[in-house]
């Protein structure tokens, strides 16, 4: 897809409506969105609480009424994780969904260093790992940077339970992706 052409189209449409109205796939997560599987055979289907166990589950927000999956930007990609409640630091607890004995955490998958997809997982240390430059984020501590060049933690997205699925209740806790140059 040619983004420049797409932006040109969006700019024309913006005369009659908000910029994002033209591109729901690129819209940031909206309050009320459900989380949907990002990849694989289940791509686009809602992530159920029971789908989340020892591995991070890649997800995108999905508009509950239109069913549009907001997969048009890496900045919308999420990693849904489950940890024992007692492992979370107070900082992580603020943005987590606590359902003892588990807690569910939803992180932005866009690295704060250069914007790569944070797709790696170190299960022993419970760290998300960026394959591009090796930044490691401690998921029990609100994605504190443990190793690597990333300057900031990953953003968190707060969710609630809704019929066995995850529903977005607010915006990201901090900037998604790298700081502008």
């Amino acid at each position: 897809m040619n983004r420049r052409r797409m932006l040109a189209g969006a700019a024309t449409l913006s005369v009659v409506g908000p910029l994002n109205a033209a591109k729901p796939r690129r819209m940031k997560p909206q309050v009320g969105d459900l989380l949907a599987h990002a990849f694989g055979e289940q791509a686009g289907s809602v992530v159920a609480v029971k789908d989340v166990a020892s591995q991070p589950v890649p997800a995108f927000p999905r508009d509950p009424s239109s069913g549009v999956v907001r997969d048009g930007s890496l900045h919308n990609q999420l990693a849904v994780l489950r940890l024992p409640s007692e492992r979370l630091t107070p900082k992580a607890q603020r943005h987590a969904l606590d359902a003892p004995p588990h807690a569910f955490l939803v992180y932005s998958a866009a690295c704060t260093h250069t914007g790569c997809e944070v797709s790696g997982w170190n299960s022993d240390a419970a760290r998300l790992v960026c394959p591009c430059h090796g930044s490691e984020f401690d998921v029990a501590d609100a994605a504190r940077v443990v190793n690597g060049p990333a300057p900031k933690p990953l953003a968190m997205l707060k969710v609630e339970l809704a019929d066995g699925a995850f529903r977005v209740v607010g915006g990201f806790s901090r900037r998604v992706g790298p700081e502008p140059p």
Binding site: M1, N2, R3, R4, F39, G40, S73, L74, H75, A110, C111, T114, G115, C116, E117, S119, G120, W121, N122, V129, C130, P131, C132, H133, G134, N147, G148, P149, G177, P180, P181
Partner: protein, 565 residues
């Protein structure tokens, strides 16, 4: 409306800047034989020697070399571009694709172009390696995979052409090669499941003239070296500027490794990965190739373009290609209009993967226990950053020495994993969670500057550094070799004949910029960008985890310009 005072200031500035209104058009003739006072392209000349004919700064006076002015780019990350200079006008680029024109004598900023990059563009290698010049225009390849042509005097955009879709993992970091009315570029994205290529655009209009893939499609010669559909996502990027031989009209490009990283994910030789390829400048047709190593499994991109050097072997003068490989071998090849032929090669750093080379073809045999695969960890030397990564080597025709910025005694531990292709996402198939560098505890030094005699194939001298080395090299007719590259932030000058350190200057950050030298009004300058980032920083972090260093090199780009009082 411009206020009168500002208008007067503008006039005054204009009057004091000798180069504000005139520009020397860059012709094929000038590019083929540049004036000694200019640095018109990435390595100064088409043969990629990285050699300046200027000698006012030399071994007798370099101790007096001083910074004359600096310029802060305001950008973070890896500054790798050479200051390119045409008759007093300098062009530098930065990460995130800013292009800045400066008065090369005074440091005054003439104009600045800021690329409006997409917000969600993931940059695995946030850098840019400089401009190409042709006619009255300056060309930059961008991280969102466009080529932009700008007016060299005003900075106005003349055209911009999308070369490929960044959303599919394509991006560009190299300095364009300009020749024969064309702007030649290659694409990055080897870690994102691309299919690599070199493309030529019409320098006037930006229209595509030709495009040659580095991976053959089914039915094309070499396609049998890729199983199934692996050719579609097999990587083989081209991210360093090619060399060019105007006599044969052949351009020579180094190619990256196949993707994903593990060889057993794409069994076969994987032509034309980890090779040098000869492409006709007019048609893009491939006139020859030499694959340095087959079925790469070590991330050893061989993207550095070979230096075009005529060398002697057994009394014979050979029109050659010389390449210090990322695989740790120094390669000597013969070039002709019909083919590229292996002459000889030997390791220049610790290498424990290649057990022998075929004496006729140069094809290596591997120790399979040193070859990582899917679910098969292995430790191998040199590391995936190689004996020499992208920083270019230089050659001095005066000393007949090739100057190689090397890293020795560094090995890596790597394991492959199955990975499903997803468009535009990392497709490395390597378990980065368990990756680590492996160093012999007895090894005190890592970085090196090695000098090899191209006719005798013997090492003349070598200097070692405690730090790893990511310093591009400049050689000059003053019998000096300039290089930064170490984490202690020094820029250094060595005696080209002995390797003796003659001068050094500590800078703001680490230097991974390509140094250049030029002359304005009879005065010689040496210029380099200091600005640490990308893989130099990544390797620093890997060494820090091992306890080999505690330094965190500060970021931020600054151009340094040196001269004698």
């Amino acid at each position: 409306m411009m206020r009168p005072s500002a208008f007067l200031l503008f006039l005054a500035v204009g009057a004091s800047t000798a180069y504000a209104t005139t520009y020397s058009a860059v012709t094929d003739k000038r590019l083929e034989n540049p004036e000694r006072g200019n640095w018109l392209m990435y390595r100064g000349t088409y043969d990629s020697h990285g050699y300046s004919m200027l000698d006012a700064i030399n071994t007798t006076n370099v101790a007096r070399l001083k910074p004359l002015w600096t310029f802060s780019t305001g950008m973070r990350e890896g500054h790798q571009a050479p200051p390119v200079v045409n008759d007093g006008r300098m062009f530098i680029t930065t990460p995130h694709n800013h292009l800045i024109a400066l008065d090369a004598a005074t440091g005054e900023e003439l104009w600045r172009y800021r690329r409006d990059l997409p917000e969600d563009l993931a940059q695995m290698h946030p850098t840019n390696r400089g401009v190409g010049l042709y006619g009255n225009r300056v060309y930059m390849a961008t991280a969102d995979c466009y080529v932009v042509a700008l007016d060299a005097v005003t900075g106005a955009v003349a055209w911009e052409t999308e070369v490929e879709d960044y959303g599919s993992g394509y991006y560009m970091t190299l300095a364009p090669l300009t020749a024969a009315g064309k702007v030649l570029v290659g694409v990055s994205g080897g870690e994102f499941g691309i299919r690599g290529f070199v493309a030529a655009l019409n320098a006037k209009t930006g229209e595509l003239a030709w495009k040659t893939y580095t991976i053959p499609a089914p039915g094309e010669p070499g396609s049998e070296s890729w199983p199934g559909d692996t050719w579609k996502t097999g990587g083989v990027p081209v991210w360093i500027t090619g060399s060019y031989d105007p006599k044969s009209r052949l351009t020579y490009w180094g190619t990256g490794n196949g993707g994903p990283w593990m060889g057993d994910a794409r069994s076969g030789d994987n032509l034309y990965a980890t090779s040098v390829i000869a492409l006709d400048v007019d048609s893009g047709a491939m006139a020859g190739y030499h694959q340095y190593h087959w079925n790469d499994s070590w991330d050893w991109d061989e993207v550095s373009a070979p230096l075009l050097i005529d060398f002697e072997r057994a009394g014979r003068r050979i029109a050659g290609l010389v390449h210090p490989g990322r695989n740790g071998y120094l390669w000597f090849l013969e070039r002709s209009e019909a083919a590229i032929r292996f002459i000889d090669a030997k390791p220049y750093v610790k290498q424990d993967v290649i057990t022998s080379l075929d004496p006729v073809t140069g094809r290596p045999t591997y120790d399979e226990t040193k070859k990582p695969g899917i679910g098969k960890p292995a430790t191998f030397c040199p590391s995936h950053w190689g004996g020499k990564d992208w920083p270019p080597a230089a050659f001095s025709p005066r000393t007949r020495l090739l100057y190689v910025p090397a890293n020795d005694n560094v090995c890596a531990h790597l394991e492959g994993v199955e990975e499903e292709y997803r468009e535009g996402r990392t497709f490395m198939g390597a378990k980065m969670e368990t990756f680590r560098l492996v160093l012999d505890p007895e090894t005190k030094t890592i970085g090196e500057l090695q000098a090899w005699h191209v006719d005798t194939f013997e090492k003349a001298w070598s200097v070692s550094f405690e730090s790893h080395n990511w310093g591009p090299v400049l050689a000059t007719a003053g019998d000096l070799v300039f290089m930064g590259g170490t984490s202690d932030r020094y820029f250094r000058a060595f005696d080209a004949r002995s390797g003796k350190l003659l001068w050094r200057q500590r800078t703001n950050s680490g230097i991974t910029g390509v140094p250049s030298s030029y002359e304005v009004d009879g005065k010689q300058y040496v210029a380099v960008l200091s600005g640490w980032g990308v893989d130099a920083e990544r390797q620093q972090e890997a060494l820090r985890i091992l306890g080999r260093t505690s330094i965190r090199v500060p970021q931020g780009g600054v151009l340094w310009v040196f001269g004698l009082d």
